[in-house]
């Protein structure tokens, strides 16, 4: 029986092998690059791959690290970064023609922290253009496909990050989550995807889509890997005025902790639109936890039904503002014109795809004179109601469990022509973004038609430890 490739192993296992001198850092990189070369052509998870840099860094590490007391949490571990997160002197394209040649002069804080923890940045992953989408089909660099079945979408918008983690083209990845963009592809690809509490991870260097909703999130093969990566990137940042000052506790995941937890199930979840098979998988998983946890309780989140309208009104308005800087004047694409107004109009028409244009238009409309109170203003109030729902629910439980998505992965091209249908797929994920709280998606122990089913565990603000512990407990069900 052949032993698994190094790239298929967990971070802690790899570090043990390093400490036992069974393998070198270069071996890890070699394994990952070999896997990328055999898989990425058909998956298209990566926009840029830093093969040479990665090899050089690994060789350096092998030379320098003599005793492994200097081993940092992510030493020598190749991590992929979604291409809307800045990496110094590398392309940061956001999957868009308008930034296809843009090279960032700085590292995002989260990337700098990964490096400080010893990680090797292996490449930039594909995404829906400007993180706007749920299928990673709208990128200027072509769609990404699901490693489980290439005919299907990997989910989005961090589809590239989820896919490369799934096929082991990286040992973990950073994504961004504004309405579910880390959790949704994690569910479709069968990996773990964590959206931290808003303000727990610095947004400095994350290309803004919707500033009051955006979070940098983590994708990992397992809950343990995800936790390790999260621990390194969390924390206050003086470059981001919206980061939380509470010190970061180094989380070590413990599934036994759930014996003190009450698990909340929102009664609105099992409503229309939810695929019956998914409902059953969730139900079964919860029953499996019943004996291990303190209590299972029904809670109510009545605002859920307004989450999508609220989410899209807010994110489109903020997006229309955040994307105003892409004007062809000082960087990125410029369509030559003899008049300035044409320069703007032509550059932005040529540089943005239809979904992005749609959202900019709706967002601009929602902020315009006479419409602000009706649209953006109202959405901000409903947002408060949704947050209050969670505040209330978390008085009665420690974590809330729902499906991550209402449907299973669909085929490439199947949903792209109906934007509203695409938006409705975010029904379970958007509430956590609106409330600013934390949530993780992990694969349920049961598959449907070979596809994994994403289970989402939501926790209160700064409740990452609870949801990771619960996620680990679910992960252990099949072990």
């Amino acid at each position: 029986m052949t032993s698994p490739d190094l790239c298929d192993l967990a971070i802690s296992v790899l570090h043990n092998k390093i400490k036992n001198r069974e393998i070198k850092f270069s071996d890890i990189i070699t394994s990952v690059i070999k896997r990328i070369k055999s898989e990425d052509q058909k998956i298209n998870g990566y926009i840029s791959i830093f093969e040479e840099d990665a090899i050089n860094q690994a060789v350096e590490l092998d030379k320098m690290m003599k005793n492994f007391e200097q081993l940092k949490p992510l030493s020598g571990i190749p991590i992929a970064v979604k291409d809307n997160i800045c990496v110094k002197d590398k392309l940061t394209t956001c999957g868009s023609k308008i930034l296809a040649n843009f090279i960032s002069p700085y590292d995002a804080t989260a990337v700098a922290k990964l490096r400080a923890a010893g990680a090797i940045i292996i490449g930039k992953t594909n995404l829906d253009e400007f993180a706007m989408g749920s299928s990673t089909e709208t990128s200027y660099f072509g769609p990404t496909s699901n490693p489980i079945d290439n005919r299907y979408v990997p989910g989005g918008s961090s589809g590239g990050s989820a896919a490369v983690v799934k096929y082991s083209g990286a040992l973990g990845a950073l994504g961004s989550d504004t309405g579910g963009s880390v959790r949704h592809p994690a569910a479709f690809c069968g990996v773990a995807g964590l959206k931290p509490t808003y303000g727990r991870v610095s947004r400095y260097g994350l290309v803004a889509f919707a500033s009051s909703l955006d979070c940098i999130g983590v994708l990992g093969k397992t809950v343990a890997d995800t936790a390790i990566i999260f621990n390194t990137i969390a924390g206050h940042d003086e470059m981001d005025a919206t980061t939380i000052n509470t010190p970061v506790k180094n989380i070590s995941v413990d599934s036994n902790a759930i014996k003190n937890y009450t698990i909340g199930i929102p009664k609105e979840v099992f409503a229309e639109g939810l695929d019956g098979r998914i409902a059953k998988v969730i139900d079964d998983t919860i029953n499996n936890l019943r004996s291990r946890c303190r209590n299972i309780k029904e809670v109510s989140l009545p605002g859920t039904k307004y989450a999508i309208a609220t989410y899209y009104l807010i994110c489109m308005a903020e997006a229309s503002s955040n994307l105003a800087r892409y004007d062809g004047v000082k960087y990125g694409l410029r369509v030559s014109s003899s008049e300035l107004k044409d320069l703007y109009a032509r550059t932005r028409d040529d540089g943005f795809n239809t979904e992005v244009k749609r959202r900019i238009l709706i967002g601009t409309y929602g902020l315009s004179k006479g419409y602000y109170d009706e649209y953006y203003g109202t959405a901000q109030k409903v947002r408060n109601l949704i947050k209050q729902d969670f505040d209330q629910a978390f008085k009665d439980c420690n974590v809330i469990i729902t499906p991550t998505t209402p449907v299973l992965p669909f085929k490439l091209g199947e949903q792209i022509s109906d934007p509203l249908a695409m938006y409705l797929g975010d029904i379970f994920t958007t509430p956590a973004n609106l409330a600013g709280i934390t949530a993780i998606s992990i694969p349920a122990p049961v598959f449907i038609d070979n596809f994994p089913v994403g289970i989402q565990i939501t926790g209160p603000a700064l409740g990452e430890e609870q949801i990771l512990n619960t996620a680990k407990a679910i992960e252990e069900i099949n072990e």
Partner: protein, 470 residues
């Protein structure tokens, strides 16, 4: 001036704050180098960046607000103001909208109060150089901190408008909030003006004026616009609400070509900056650092020293000059003497050398020493002026110069008598003329004694003694 209409003017002033760094990033705020060398990812609007707020800018804005009698908001917030222009890299300006830092203040001018609606913080845009075929953009100035001060439309004439601006500028310089150099665009004024037929309640249509680079331009442009609007109204026409661009060369205001109809700025609260919270303590700490303002010092000077309005105004022109006066007065308490010397002798030197009082090489103590010698009648007025010139040139102190050159007035009666005797003896015919009734020749005799004694005696003393002798 047309007396059919009431002139209604409101002023919007932007003042650049004297901080070390820009408002939302740590680039230097004042910079005079090559284009696009004073920028960072944040102020040039690169993807992924976020603003952070400069503490000192907030402090200076509060300081300015307090000096203008404004209410300081305990909670204020920032907002985005959207429009597309090449020198605005993010496509929006971060400013304050619904919740400004300060509101409801006033400035007093000639006894009337001009109400200030608001004073808030915002970031500056870059600069452009225009030619017929292209525009060149420099982002160096992007992000520099500004305060915007908006008055109620209570100003009633161009003269009053200029007075308001002068007073505002003086206050800001006193506070060291800004140098307010109009040529460096530290201090920009955009008036809006409308005319209202006397007796009418409703305001007329107003126009806004831009590109006014000096107080003179403000005056001229307002005069121009009053004339233009009166003519239109006189002939039954209608004023169009628009922004006019002042052409300094031709002294006319024209419509700004290429500007779109009233912009929709799509203001919304800045999501990247949480609410700015100030407590009583923060504000009081800043209040305690406020220096005395010009109008307060004026009151003191007039009441304490009984100096005239004109003299006081000159002393108060700059805080530094007023401080110099205060320092000198502590050491030489003849207010009128000190004031006089400051506004004549000292000012003459400053003007001649084009320097400020800070660069003047005679410190208050040294000037006081000189003036004290004069008061004690140890030297004459003429000699004092000579010594002063010497002090400026050689940087020596008054005492040093007097000792070196032996310029002390002599109290020596014997010298006095001896000199007078000598002069009377040398000028027998003049003495005879005096005795025969021509009393005016006394000045010749006094002059002769002065010459003999080389300024060691005062004319008065000489005169007294000679008269006694004769």
């Amino acid at each position: 001036m047309n007396s059919k209409y009431e002139v209604i003017i409101g002023l919007e002033v932007h003042i650049q704050l004297k901080t070390r760094t820009k408002l939302f990033c740590a680039c230097p705020a004042e910079f005079g180098g090559q284009p696009n060398t004073n920028i960072c990812p944040i102020c040039s609007g690169l993807p992924g960046v976020l603003p952070t707020v400069n503490q000192h800018a907030v402090d200076l804005a509060i300081k300015a607000g307090l000096a203008l009698n404004c209410q300081i908001s305990s909670k204020s917030s920032f907002a985005r103001k959207h429009y597309f222009y090449p020198d605005l890299p993010k496509g929006y300006q971060i400013t304050q909208y619904k919740e400004p830092l300060t509101t409801n203040g006033f400035i007093e001018i000639d006894g009337s109060k001009i109400q200030i609606r608001r004073l808030h913080l915002e970031e500056d845009s870059g600069k452009s150089i225009h030619s017929p075929t292209e525009s060149l953009i420099d982002f160096n100035r992007c992000g520099v901190p500004l305060i915007e001060i908006v008055t109620e439309p209570e100003i009633r004439s161009p003269v009053q408008a200029v007075k308001y601006l002068q007073t505002l500028r003086q206050i800001m310089r006193y506070l060291d909030v800004s140098d307010c150099d109009m040529e460096k665009a530290h201090f920009r004024c955009e008036p809006n003006i409308s005319l209202r037929p006397i007796g009418q309640k409703q305001f007329g249509v107003r126009t806004e004026l831009k590109n006014l680079n000096s107080l003179n331009s403000v005056h001229q442009a307002l005069d121009f616009e009053i004339n233009r609007q009166s003519e239109i109204l006189d002939t039954g026409g209608v004023i169009v609400q628009e922004t006019l661009f002042w052409d300094e060369q031709n002294r006319v205001a024209g419509t700004m070509r290429g500007k779109e109809e009233s912009e929709d700025y799509r203001y919304f609260p800045e999501p990247d900056l949480p609410v700015l919270v100030l407590n009583r303590e923060n504000i009081d700490n800043i209040k305690n650092t406020l220096p005395l303002l010009p109008w307060q010092r004026k009151k003191n000077l007039k009441e304490k020293y009984n100096l005239s309005e004109n003299i006081v105004n000159i002393i108060l022109e700059t805080k530094e000059f007023a401080d110099y006066f205060d320092e000198t007065i502590k050491l030489c308490d003849d207010a009128k003497l000190v004031a006089n010397w400051l506004i004549t002798e000292v000012k003459a030197v400053l003007n001649e050398k084009s320097i400020s009082i800070n660069e003047f090489n005679i410190i208050p103590k040294e000037l006081a020493d000189l003036l004290n010698l004069l008061r004690a009648q140890k030297i004459t007025g003429t000699v004092a002026k000579e010594i002063f010139t010497d002090m400026v040139l050689t940087k020596k102190t008054a005492i040093e110069i007097v000792n070196e050159k032996g310029l002390y007035l002599s109290n020596d009666d014997s010298l006095l008598i001896k000199s007078i005797d000598e002069v009377l003896a040398e000028n027998v015919d003049i003495v005879a003329k005096y005795k025969s009734g021509k009393t005016s020749v006394i000045s010749f005799l006094i002059g002769a004694v002065l010459k003999k004694t080389q300024g060691k005696l005062t004319p008065q003393k000489i005169k007294d003694k000679i008269l006694k002798k004769l």
